[in-house]
Amino acid sequence: MKIFLAIIFSLISLFSFSQEYPKIEIDANGQKVVIFTLEQAQKIDNDLEILDLLDRSKIQCDSLNIARLRIIDSQNLKIVLLEKSIAEIRTQSSEKDLLLSNKDQQISNLEESAKIQEEQKCIKNKQIEGLQDDLKKEKNKKWIFGGAGLLIGVLAVLVTL
């Protein structure tokens, strides 16, 4: 009897070991259930854990992409602003060059004016000198001819007497 029982239990256990999991069974409530081995359940649990992490990783990748796109947008904006800035600085530089040349022209203009004014001053001095000479000459003439006329007149009177 013992031997018989041992054989039956061995067969049952053999039968049970040879069963493949997962399998679907119907429980006492008539509900369909899936049966896994512990190892399979642990693998599923681990895979689900990895899936969660992959989901999180996907979200993080998306966020990182958005952040990188924002950086690229900002850098593009910065490039545009820098280009504008360079253009403005170049234009300003040419304006400053024009201002410098304008100042140079003004300086040469003023130097030329000063030279001409100096010449005018010389001309005026010459005119004044000439006029003073003329005046002096006229005075001398007045004295000389006046005196001489008087003298000649006296002499003429004396000659006639």
Partner: protein, 136 residues
């Protein structure tokens, strides 16, 4: 005596003639007042034209100074905008670095889980499943 007076008179007239000649000849070589005035007027014309040119140059100078000043304001505004963008870039880079670190950590966690899978036993395993399948 009469002859003497006559000759003196003649001498005097002669002397007067010479003096007059001398006075009139002296200064004849110099430029006339009118010529000098003409020169002066010609210089004055040059001076006037230089004055007009100077006036135009001063107006142009004012325009250029105004334009340079306006451009200074524009450049300053652009610099402020660039500074603001730079600050935004720094902040965005910091955020991206943080996200990268988080992503690296998650990737490490995934690698670790692949190398050393979690092996929950009994109730912990059941609780883990229950937690996952809990209806939202």
């Amino acid at each position: 005596m009469k002859t003497d007076f006559k000759s003196i008179l003649l001498y005097a007239i002669g002397a007067l003639f010479i003096i007059s000649l001398f006075l009139n000849i002296r200064g004849c070589g110099r430029e006339s007042y009118e010529d000098l005035q003409q020169k002066y007027d010609s210089r004055q014309k040059q001076l006037d034209s230089l004055g007009y040119a100077l006036g135009y140059l001063r107006i142009r100078e004012k325009e250029l100074v105004g334009a340079i000043s306006d451009r200074d304001a524009k450049i300053l505004d652009l610099r402020l905008q660039i500074d603001s963008v730079n600050r935004a870039v720094i902040s965005q880079t910091q955020r991206a670095d943080r996200l990268q670190r988080e992503l690296d950590k998650t990737s490490d966690d995934i690698k670790k889980l692949r190398k050393n899978p979690i092996k929950r036993d009994d109730q912990a395993l059941i609780d883990s499943f229950k937690k996952r399948f809990k209806k939202p």
